[in-house]
């Protein structure tokens, strides 16, 4: 028989033999059987509430040896931001994103000094973005006030997700939600709500946690996670706070403000005829908890989107549509009706696991994620190189003091800069050797920690990560 392309076997539906065994023993036994009978295939044991991307690991917290980092459920376009920025002219003063999600592009644009206007009807996206751009930094005292919110029976405890009702973690989250609304006002309220959005994005990644009979999160963990969220939002406020405005409107029925560039990332359209879009459905529970009432907005249709394009085109010099479903609408044709020049740019990035939805990166295999940019303008469509923003200071850089996630990012950035050096493009490094030395410091620290997942730009050679030229 031809060899199968099978990559994974997952056993479920356990009987008394497996259930009676200690979990570690079961995993060990199944793995041994796997090595014996299917040596080339990963053989795994499914647990209640465990999640697998095609090739990623289960996310059951108690089972994970890896450090849990907070994940952002929204923001699938994050990895394309730098490419998209290349098409935004250097002299751009204002950028509008009418369906901004968690504002990854807007945040980067604002860092480059562009005034931004964002909008999203989805509360999860809106509260986060508004927190970042319009929030006021939390002080220690604010944090204490926030965390002192008493548990209450709110939307998460009482309505559709009520069963099992006894879970204290649900009442705790409801209490914090109510606390965010009642204990704060103006900018601080926006920060509190932004942090709650981030927390819910993280917790709803494995939505099944809240219908388990067991407490998915302890009070201490919720408080720790929320503190991390506030720290994240505080940092972003420091970088881009006040550099734009975010709205929470149904943009299809609103007047559109003018902007030098409009970036439009319409909801994803699945392949096939007459398919409905389920964008809001994915976020319904998290949105409802955030609003403390049922979220009932309807997704726009393809027609809504097509009819919306002329409105957008009339308000800007350059309209950029970014979509991962290029065949659902004939974007080229629709945009050609509105602007003289239309250019399609395909971007492809290699992604491990289900990163777009915020899953942990997978160290094993990557897959390609494709995105299509359609730039429409009456002027010529050009690319603009921006100076790479320095994400770290070379002087006094101490890898041992940097957290896992940032260290991984820094290594990635060094790799980019290294390839720039090889192409004779300038970087802040004096030469190739200095860049390699710097990378070596980071890699030494990573090898010491031994738990950072790598992207495929790196090869793991003899247990050490090495940048490939």
């Amino acid at each position: 028989m031809k060899k199968t392309p099978m990559t994974k076997i997952i056993f479920t539906h356990f009987g008394k033999e497996a259930i009676g065994m200690k979990h570690e023993k079961l995993v060990q036994k199944v793995s041994e059987l796997g090595k014996k009978f299917c040596p080339d295939i990963s053989v795994e044991v499914a647990l209640d509430n465990s999640t697998f991307g095609a090739l990623s690991k289960p996310v059951k917290k108690s089972e994970s040896n890896q450090e849990e980092t907070l994940s952002n459920y929204l923001g699938s376009k994050r990895q394309f931001v730098n490419t998209i920025l290349k098409y935004i002219p250097k002299d751009t003063k204002t950028l509008l994103d009418p369906t901004c999600g968690s504002s990854h592009l807007l945040i980067e644009a604002a860092k480059h000094g562009i005034q931004i206007i964002g909008n999203d009807l989805c509360p999860l996206a809106y509260y986060y973005s508004a927190g970042v751009f319009q929030g006021e930094k939390f002080e220690e005292g604010d944090m204490r006030t926030f965390l002192s919110s008493s548990p209450v029976s709110g939307w998460l405890s009482k309505s559709e997700l009520k069963r099992p009702e006894k879970l204290e973690s649900k009442r705790l989250i409801d209490g914090l939600m109510v606390g965010a609304y009642k204990k704060f006002s103006k900018g601080k309220q926006k920060t509190a709500l932004g942090a709650m959005s981030l927390l819910l994005q993280h917790y709803f990644r494995g939505f099944a946690a809240f219908i388990s009979e067991e407490e998915p999160y302890s009070k201490e963990q919720v408080h720790n996670d929320l503190s991390k969220c506030i720290k994240d939002i505080n940092e972003l406020i420091g970088e881009v706070g006040g550099k734009g405005k975010i709205f929470n409107k149904n943009i299809f029925s609103e007047t559109i403000p003018g902007a030098d560039v409009i970036y439009f990332d319409p909801p994803y359209f699945p392949a096939g005829p007459q398919e409905a879009i389920n964008y809001f459905k994915h976020y319904v529970h998290a949105n409802s908890v955030l609003m403390q009432k049922k979220f009932e907005e309807k997704d726009p249709t393809k027609e809504d989107i097509i009819n919306f394009l002329p409105k957008l085109a009339s308000k800007t010099n350059l309209l950029i549509v970014s979509t991962s479903s290029p065949s659902a609408i004939n974007w080229g044709r629709e945009l050609s009706k509105l602007k003289k020049n239309v250019k399609m740019i395909g971007i492809s990035k290699s992604s491990t696991g289900s990163q777009p939805q915020g899953e942990r990166a997978n160290p094993v295999t990557a897959r390609n994620v494709k995105e299509h940019l359609f730039c429409a303008s009456d002027s010529e469509i050009k690319t603009f190189e921006r100076l790479e923003k320095l994400l770290f200071k070379l002087e006094g850089y101490d890898p041992s003091k940097i957290n896992d996630e940032k260290l991984g990012n820094d290594l990635k950035l060094v790799a980019v800069k290294f390839s720039n050096i090889l192409r004779d493009e300038g970087t802040e490094f004096k030469n190739k050797e200095e860049c390699l030395n710097f990378a070596e410091h980071i890699m030494e620290e990573i090898s010491k920690r031994g738990k950072i997942t790598f992207h495929p730009e790196y090869k793991i050679i003899n247990g050490k990560a090495e940048i490939t030229e």
């Binding site: 028989m1 031809k2 199968t4 392309p5 099978m6 994974k8 076997i9 997952i10 056993f11 479920t12 539906h13 356990f14 009987g15 008394k16 033999e17 497996a18 259930i19 009676g20 979990h23 199944v30 059987l33 796997g34 009978f37 299917c38 295939i41 053989v43 044991v45 499914a46 647990l47 209640d48 509430n49 465990s50 999640t51 697998f52 991307g53 095609a54 059951k60 559709e160 997700l161 069963r163 494995g206 939505f207 099944a208 219908i211 388990s212 009979e213 067991e214 994803y268 699945p270 392949a271 096939g272 398919e275 879009i277 389920n278 459905k281 319904v284 289900s354 939805q357 899953e359 897959r367």
Partner: protein, 191 residues
Amino acid sequence: MKLTFLGTRGEAEKSSKFHKNHSAIRLETHDKIILLDFGASWQGKLKFVNPDYIWLSHAHPDHALGLKGEKTKIPVFMSKETSDRLPEKKFPLENRRIIRDNFRFDSIKAREISVGHSTRAPMSGLIIETDEGKVGYFPDVLNVPDKSIFKELSIYIGDGSSLTRDIVRTIKGKRVGHASMTTQMALLQGK
């Protein structure tokens, strides 16, 4: 494609922290949510999952009883044999889709395969074409009619009833039960 194993317990009286709920898998692909089986412990909880489609492998309680009393419009895909064993009075499902062999969850291609497991509740395996390859779902299986069906699978979701010994009984001359994990792995290797 994303798989969430909501429940991983078969028809065993015992349960544990990690295998508390009966079989149910939430499969997310092509922007759709497909619920694969919904065992007894899930009764009344369908609205939490809120899938676009439901697939039932067979009519045993640990796979289907979660739908008891559900008057839902969500399309429930199953074989005729399974549907016949889920009386309308107890399972007032409004949108039953009887399938055989190749079919589609709208645009998502899938294939039903009758496999050996039970005479009382004939069992169907499922092969579904996700955006990341074909996934095979065979939660209760003793034997398959044709081993070549495994050739193109990227992921196999199999029966964890027993580790190394097949659980087999003979009823009216027919073998019923569960293939062990090792037997299934051998089958997958074409042995």
